[in-house]
């Protein structure tokens, strides 16, 4: 079991995986786009503008999932001194930030025809903007403290502070009166979304998850080679 955790073994797996993930991503994305743009029905209230949901919602879900994973990895990595967890967390951050930006921009585009405004400082939108600032702070911290022992402490603190914002994002639509609609999908209770719209949403979420996996693998391999480059300098 432990032989698979050697850096050489990890790299031999993570370096081969991206091409298969890319192939699968293109197939799933093609199905998702066809479903989202052509086959899924228009909404009785929002008409065709509802199709923006198929990029906006998966992007928001994935960015929240990535930040939560980064926090978990950083905290466990810091407590048990596992540097590889920090490397995984660092490799996840760029796609998390991009998904966060996509959620904000597509939300803004969706806001114009439905609310009549591109932007509103309401609880959900503002808390998502704050999350993007935590992603930026995390990535900037790696740039500033890359060759410093402080980096593990600094990035763990940033993720812990940022994770406080995640439940605020989730429950903001219930706690405050916001322009943003409440959640249509509930894992524990019956969802208010029709299956004809739920299916493309699930397909697009799978495509987005595959894309974040692809970027993570490429970034993780880059980080491993970067470490080996530093090792060669010391030889």
């Amino acid at each position: 079991m432990f032989k698979y955790l050697e850096p050489g073994k990890i790299f031999s797996i993570t370096s081969k995986a991206p091409k298969y993930v890319l192939f699968l991503f293109i197939i799933i994305l093609s199905i998702g786009l066809t479903e989202a743009l052509v086959l899924s029905p228009e909404d009785y209230k929002q008409s065709h503008s509802v199709r923006i949901m198929y990029v906006h919602v998966p992007a928001a879900w994935i960015s929240l999932g990535i930040f939560s994973s980064m926090t978990l990895l950083s905290v466990i990595g810091y407590i048990f001194k596992i540097k590889n967890f920090f490397l995984i967390s660092k490799s996840l951050a760029p796609s998390g930030l991009v998904f966060n930006i996509i959620a904000l921009v597509t939300g803004s585009i969706w806001g114009k025809p439905t609310w009549g405004t591109w932007w509103a400082w309401d609880a959900r939108i503002t808390s998502m903007l704050i999350l993007s600032l935590f992603f930026v702070m995390y990535l900037v911290a790696w740039r500033i403290y890359e060759n410093n022992d402080k980096i593990f402490k600094v990035t763990t603190i940033i993720t812990i502070l940022g994770i406080i914002n995640v439940p605020i994002i989730k429950y903001s639509v219930d706690w405050w009166n916001t322009l943003h609609q409440p959640a249509s999908i509930n894992i524990l209770s019956k969802s208010s979304i029709h299956t004809s719209m739920l299916f493309p949403l699930i397909i697009m979420t799978a495509a987005f998850a595959l894309f974040s996996l692809l970027i993570f693998l490429m970034k993780y391999n880059t980080e491993l080679i970067k470490i080996k480059n530093k090792g060669l300098d010391r030889l």
């Binding site: 050697e6 850096p7 050489g8 073994k9 790299f11 031999s12 370096s15 081969k16 991206p18 091409k19 890319l22 786009l33 989202a36 743009l37 052509v38 228009e42 008409s47 065709h48 503008s49 199709r51 923006i52 990029v55 906006h56 992007a59 760029p94 796609s95 991009v98 930006i101 996509i102 921009v105 597509t106 585009i109 969706w110 114009k112 025809p113 894309f211 692809l214 970027i215 490429m218 970034k219 391999n221 880059t222 491993l224 080679i225 970067k226 080996k228 480059n229 060669l232 300098d233 030889l235």
Partner: protein, 75 residues
Amino acid sequence: MINELLFMNGYGLYVWSAFSFTLFSFLVLFLITKIQYTKEKNKFVSKLGSLNSERAAIAKSQSINKAILSNTSNI
């Protein structure tokens, strides 16, 4: 059919710009990550090439270095 797909009852501009922005962001992130990967890999190969034969042999004996060298794919 094509007109309906393009204009979407007047919402076409919003829908298409949201999807275009998403796909463009994907493309940019993919290209940046790929360029960074290729750059680090080329740096690794050139550093390994500049080592003397004894040090190069030590470096090449490590499993991860062998894996990096054997992986010719750019992604």
